[in-house]
Symmetry: C2
Subunit: 152 residues, 2 copies
């Protein structure tokens, strides 16, 4: 199995991601299934809303962010398994044709007290558009296996 | 426009939702697009993972939760517009054929200091399966319009 064990993560590490484009029709179809509100479904209704134009559902942004994170250079052994977030917000809307990428930074690395075979890394993931504006900021805690345990 | 203004929300209010069933094939297709990791894509690989069986992506749970929330009795005027979360976690996995519903509770109601026409309500949304287990817990802040401003 490839990827980084807990011992290979350290605070201050930064990782890059690829890029995903926000598709206008996918904004609408995602919203139709999961977030059926006028400002995510219809251009005309969206203009008169708080978003002042068609905007992706926050959950669509979150899902696209996950796709970029899974394919990023972060690569913990065993995959990206989140236990929860310390912070999670959408500072700006994501629009049709936005090109999104991630800035990923490791903030903390902590071995588990109760589980000697694993630990937790705290990671800030910022989803950024082509103008450098943040459309999602999260600080999440991921479970990562320890190398020690796997060679014991 | 129908729905509740800020003045019609109060701490302690509880709201119900409908129910959504977690579809096995949708777990896999959602994951293929947004969270392509073996434990969300393949039964066999999932059995050997930390999830010990096929589990929905957390973002799929979040998206299903949003669908239930939009169609719930909460109904703020202007729609459900979240600015961020104080808490967000997945205590248990969601499995194929789970039937999910929400327990929704208003925790706080605050008029905005800078915007007399709106305020924020803090809402705890717990996504619960057919066995009463929580698969997602969030405490989020939603923007809601004030009635005062709209009649001024």
């Amino acid at each position: 199995m490839t990827g980084r064990y807990l011992e290979e993560f350290a605070p201050g590490q930064k990782f890059a991601s690829g890029q995903l484009r926000v598709d206008r029709e996918r904004i609408k179809s995602f919203a139709a299934e999961f977030d059926p509100q006028p400002f995510h479904l219809d251009e005309e209704a969206a203009r008169g809303s708080v978003f002042k134009g068609l905007a992706a559902s926050g959950w669509h942004i979150a899902a696209m962010t996950m796709r970029l994170l899974v394919e990023s250079e972060l690569k913990p052994v065993g995959g990206i398994v989140g236990v929860g977030f310390d912070e999670f917000r959408w500072p700006n809307p994501a629009r049709p044709d936005d090109a999104l990428h991630l800035d990923i930074e490791v903030l903390e690395v902590r071995p588990s007290k109760s589980r000697p075979d694993q630990g937790v890394i705290k990671v800030r993931t910022t989803t950024v558009n082509q103008n450098g504006e943040s459309v999602q900021v999260s600080v999440g805690n991921l479970i990562v296996r320890r190398r020690l345990a796997s060679t014991a």
